[in-house]
Amino acid sequence: MKTRHKRFALVGVGLAVLGLAAWLILSAFQKNLVFFFTPTQVFAGEAPQGRTFRIGGMVEKGTLVHQPDGLTWKFIVTDMSKTIAVTYRGILPDLFKEGKGVVAEGKLGADNVFSAETVLAKHDENYMPPEAAYALKKGKEANAAQQPDSASAVATDSAKGAK
């Protein structure tokens, strides 16, 4: 083989490997993108059925209950405008608390209950997961658009929640 042929072969192999890798990556990427929806968006039917996605917001106070099996939790996530019921089986993260921000990943069931496979809370008391903060902000905006009169009261409320 001449040097030039060898070089062509090398370049060819390299391109083939890169092409294969690109194909692998992009198809896996497509399949595994996890989108985020706020409770308001879920309520409006924007979230897909049967596909994993994330929701975020605040755990509504007084809604966290243990199911009879002693392992499954049920709670309500709110963005101060709309709410969504969530079930989760297993150990909740240490910083999961009522009245605090939360992000959950899972699927929406036919009964409109979100069954979470993972629940993410923050690693630190002082910070809110950005997605949860975003959901609260959006919820606040939705409220403001709907009820111009009570908007200011809700705004202060959710601002407290975000702190």
């Binding site: 490997v17 399949k31 996890v34 989108f35 099996d69 240490d94 910070y127």
Partner: protein
């Protein structure tokens, strides 16, 4: 008073960095040897001032000076002394000073161990390191000064995040930063070579040991982080494909490609352009990692309060460094030349494939990590890319790498007959195949596990057989020790690191493929089982630590009726931050770990408990340590030191000859 001294010392260090960069680099072009000679003393001065400043900050933490803002927000008077010291790098400001300290240490080390380098080269290398240092010192002084005072002073500190109150906090950040910052040396060598237009195998020989040491530290740092997360976060995972982990993993992948590419450049003079580019990318990714972790775009244990000014500063700095070095590369690289030729099947070509694969892998991690941030920044929606993406993409890309790890050492430089390599490896291939079949019949539950153990066998057997081949090539009667010593350390480094990869792969596959986990609701007296182990919940007590109170469960573990261990997981509540934390109990073993974490108590007094059986998880850690040790062996090769000594002797004799005349 002491914090002000520290602050002043940082300013002096900045002056030193200015002197260390501008004058020597200018001098190297105008052939002003006095200006060039400034580089070494300036590096030493910078090291002294930065160390002093760091000492001042540690002092402020040790004596609980809560009038210093960074102390007040990251420490507390009830914190034990060693955690107060570690809390120095527990916050954004202190960890940045640690970064700068590491840079000063590396710079000083380069200035000490580079007596054999030409004056111009060392002036440029230290100058570039000085430029990086200027960037970071300005960042520290203008946006995140750890010595800023708090008026009025806090009565007590807000405490260190309880997750960080651990031995890992003392070891993990310094190790990781040593690795991150260590790539600045390879980067500076590359930039210096581009500036001077001289890129030869001597250049590769100089930067190789530095790169190896940096890579070793990065390996250990990542290992330590993973090991820590495994026992600290309380649910037994060891790698989450979390953006912060990826931020450290990308430079590691590129660094691994770099040390292999440097080998080619040193031995054969090829891949020069490529090696320089890798050095630039490796350091750029280290900077990007710092940006990701420190700018607050990510939320994790590593991220601190956000300040847009900081993010912007790092972004601009990043753009200057990456943009500048890539422009320089584009301008100068064509002059560097391509180096020696090689045939289609040769050591060079196998290493080229290795490089392409590693870089592609780094690119996939890059895409998965940055794409969501990118979309978010452009307000195009919030998405996340989870572990499934990384696993589906990363594993297939690594399979050919694992295959080649075993083959590569058998392939000669320049050109190798394929038939010869195949002949030397055929028995190994057959043995691996038989082993895979046995694994399939006996214990492996899935194709993935069969493949994992087969790859482990393939790598270990081929590596061992390569060692035997090498050792056999010696006159009869040579003692084994002599035979071992006759091979250079860099050879042993390669062998050890490759074997470490085999062990690591085995650990990962066994854990991924055969671990079992069980979430159960238990009361005192209940039993549950996982794997072949039976766990009995014997007791529950309230205990108190120095800065927390806890509920402690006592579990007795039996295997086939005989007692294996007593394990005591805890649920702690830290008193200052009122933060609960799961303290898992782990019973470590050679071939398995048992892992218990205590969840929440239910209303009726029962507890949610997670018990896990994790086969061969220790092999992951063992593999990492062995890989890092391989890096150490390779870096300590005689030829790097010998050259230094020989050059010094030559100079000495030249002086002696010239002296009488």
């Amino acid at each position: 008073m002491i914090p002000e001294l520290g602050n002043f010392s940082v300013m002096l260090a900045l002056c030193m960095a200015l002197a260390q960069s501008i004058l020597p680099i200018t001098g190297s072009f105008t052939r002003n040897s006095r200006w060039m000679a400034l580089a070494r003393p300036a590096a030493a001065g910078q090291f002294v001032f930065v160390s002093f400043a760091f000492g001042c900050l540690i002092y402020a933490f040790v004596v609980n000076d809560f009038s210093v803002a960074s102390v007040a927000s990251n420490s507390n008077s009830t914190l034990p002394l060693y955690y107060r010291v570690a809390a120095t790098w527990g916050g954004h400001e202190g960890s940045l000073l640690l970064w700068i300290l590491m840079l000063a240490v590396w710079t000083f080390a380069v200035s000490l161990f580079s007596r054999q380098l030409p004056d111009e080269t060392i002036a440029r290398v230290l100058g570039v390191m000085g430029l990086i240092s200027i960037g970071f010192l300005c960042f520290l002084l203008f946006t995140s000064n750890p010595f800023d005072r708090l008026l009025p002073a806090a009565a007590d500190g807000q405490d260190l995040n309880p997750l960080l109150q651990d031995f890992g906090m003392i070891v993990h950040p310094p190790m990781l930063y040593m690795g991150y910052v260590g790539f600045s040396v390879a980067f500076s060598f590359a930039i210096a070579a581009l500036l001077g237009g001289q890129l030869d195998s001597a250049w590769a020989r100089w930067s190789r040991p530095w790169t190896l040491v940096a890579w070793m530290f990065l390996t250990l740092g990542i290992f330590m982080g993973s090991f820590w997360a495994y026992y600290e976060l309380g649910w037994g995972g060891w790698w989450f494909w979390d953006a912060v982990e990826n931020a450290s993993f990308m430079p590691w992948l590129v660094g691994t490609a770099l040390i292999h590419s440097l080998a080619v450049t040193e031995k054969r003079g090829s891949f020069k352009n490529w090696t320089v580019l890798l050095a630039i990318i490796a350091f750029s990714l280290s900077l990007l990692g710092t940006f990701l972790v420190r700018s607050g775009v990510l939320t994790s244990v590593h991220a601190f309060a956000t300040d847009p000014r900081r993010g912007l500063y790092i972004l601009i700095f990043l753009a200057i460094v990456i943009g500048g070095s890539l422009s320089l590369y584009a301008w100068r690289a064509p002059k560097v030349g391509l180096g020696g030729k090689f045939s289609l099947f040769s050591r060079e070509s196998t290493l080229l494939v290795n490089n392409v694969l590693l870089l592609t892998a780094a690119a996939t991690v890059f895409l998965g990590t940055l794409y969501p941030l990118f979309l978010d920044a452009l307000n195009l929606g919030k998405i996340s890319v989870g572990p499934p993406y990384f696993e589906t993409v990363f594993v297939p890309l690594m399979l050919p790498v694992l295959l080649l790890i075993a083959v590569g050492p058998f392939v000669r430089w320049k050109s190798a007959p394929f038939a010869d390599v195949a002949k030397r490896l055929r028995w190994i291939a057959l043995a691996t195949l038989i082993f895979a079949v046995i694994a399939w019949m006996s214990f492996a539950p899935s194709a993935m596990v069969v493949m994992g153990v087969a790859f482990c066998a393939w790598i270990l057997l081929a590596t061992a057989s390569h060692v035997l081949e090498r050792l056999r090539h010696a006159p009869a009667g040579t003692s084994l020790w002599r035979r071992i010593r006759s091979q250079p350390r860099s050879y042993w480094g390669m062998i050890v690191a490759h074997a470490g990869v085999g062990i690591f792969v085995l650990g990962v596959t066994m854990v991924k493929g055969t671990e079992t986990s069980n979430d159960v609701n238990m009361r005192v007296g209940d039993t549950t089982s996982v794997g072949e182990y039976v766990f009995r919940f014997n007791d529950l007590q309230q205990v108190s630590g120095p800065n927390y109170t806890a509920m402690r469960g006592t579990f007795e573990v039996t295997h086939n009726g005989s007692k294996v261990a007593t394990m005591t997981p805890e649920k702690r509540v830290f008193t200052v931050q009122r933060m609960p934390m799961t303290d898992a109990a782990i019973d470590r073993g050679f071939a398995r770990d048992l892992y218990i974490s205590l969840g929440e108590p239910a209303e009726n007094g029962s507890w949610v408990v997670r018990v896990q059986h994790k086969p061969f998880v220790s092999w992951i850690w063992g593999g990492c340590i062995i890989i890092a040790f391989g890096g150490f062996l390779a870096a300590s090769d005689r030829r790097y030191r010998l050259k230094a000594r020989k050059r010094a002797q030559d100079v000495a004799s030249a002086v002696a000859i010239n002296a009488p005349a």
